[in-house]
Amino acid sequence: MFKITRSEDGRILLEGRLDASQVETAAQILDTVNTSAVVDFAHLDYISSAGLGILLKTQKRISAGGNSLKLINMNKMIRDVFRIARFDLVFTIE
């Protein structure tokens, strides 16, 4: 299962497994992001290239206005996926 929500303080919270079949669900929230935002990975167990793709698409779109996504609380395995994909050079990861 995958879940995406927006907290009262504006953070985007990811939960579960973000795979190719869940990209449209993720897009329902990510497509509404127009300014810099924090994406919290604390409860995300898994992401594939499809998930990386929707994050990159969002980053590309908002960077035109000088905004960016900050990704926080990744587990080690997801961090490894970002590193291998070289996405650690694209996003601010804390």
Partner: protein, 142 residues
């Protein structure tokens, strides 16, 4: 273990369920399990999106032996697709021109120990091998 899956993205839930049962049965740790699940998703998704045929079902089998897991993904009817030819992402490509296509295959090749592809008479077979360190298996006596 072996199971057939329709060539639809919604089959991913069932595929992950199948793999999770396999990991649980053989007490395989989260890190190699992640690498294998990622590889299966990336290759299965490629079959669904670019395989060129909805005929037949994809067979996924997983086998454990001490020190390694081998997963086979068999598409009985599709076009040739050689994942060993995926391109490496280039750091010097600007953000707005950075492609996502091929990325998943690149990641899985980095995370697995063997990715082998065979194609004959429209049947494609992918062999994925992940070697296991002793800490990747918890007291496995099977």
């Amino acid at each position: 273990m072996e199971q057939q899956f329709p060539k639809e993205l919604h089959a991913l839930d069932a595929i992950f369920g199948f793999l999770d049962r396999f990991y649980s049965e053989h007490r395989i740790d989260r890190a190699p399990a992640y690498a294998l699940s990622l590889a299966v998703e990336e290759f299965f998704t490629n079959i669904v999106k670019y395989g060129g045929s909805k005929k037949g079902e994809v067979t996924i089998s997983a086998a454990y032996e001490p020190g390694r897991v081998t997963v086979l993904i068999v598409d009985p009817d599709g076009v040739r697709f050689d994942p060993t030819q995926a391109q490496v992402p280039q750091d010097d490509v600007p953000l707005d021109r950075r492609p996502v296509g091929g990325l998943g295959i690149h990641i899985t090749r980095q995370m697995l120990d063997t990715v082998r592809y065979e194609y004959r008479d429209r049947k494609g077979t992918l062999t994925l091998v992940k070697n296991l360190e002793p800490q990747h298996v918890q007291n496995n006596t099977k």
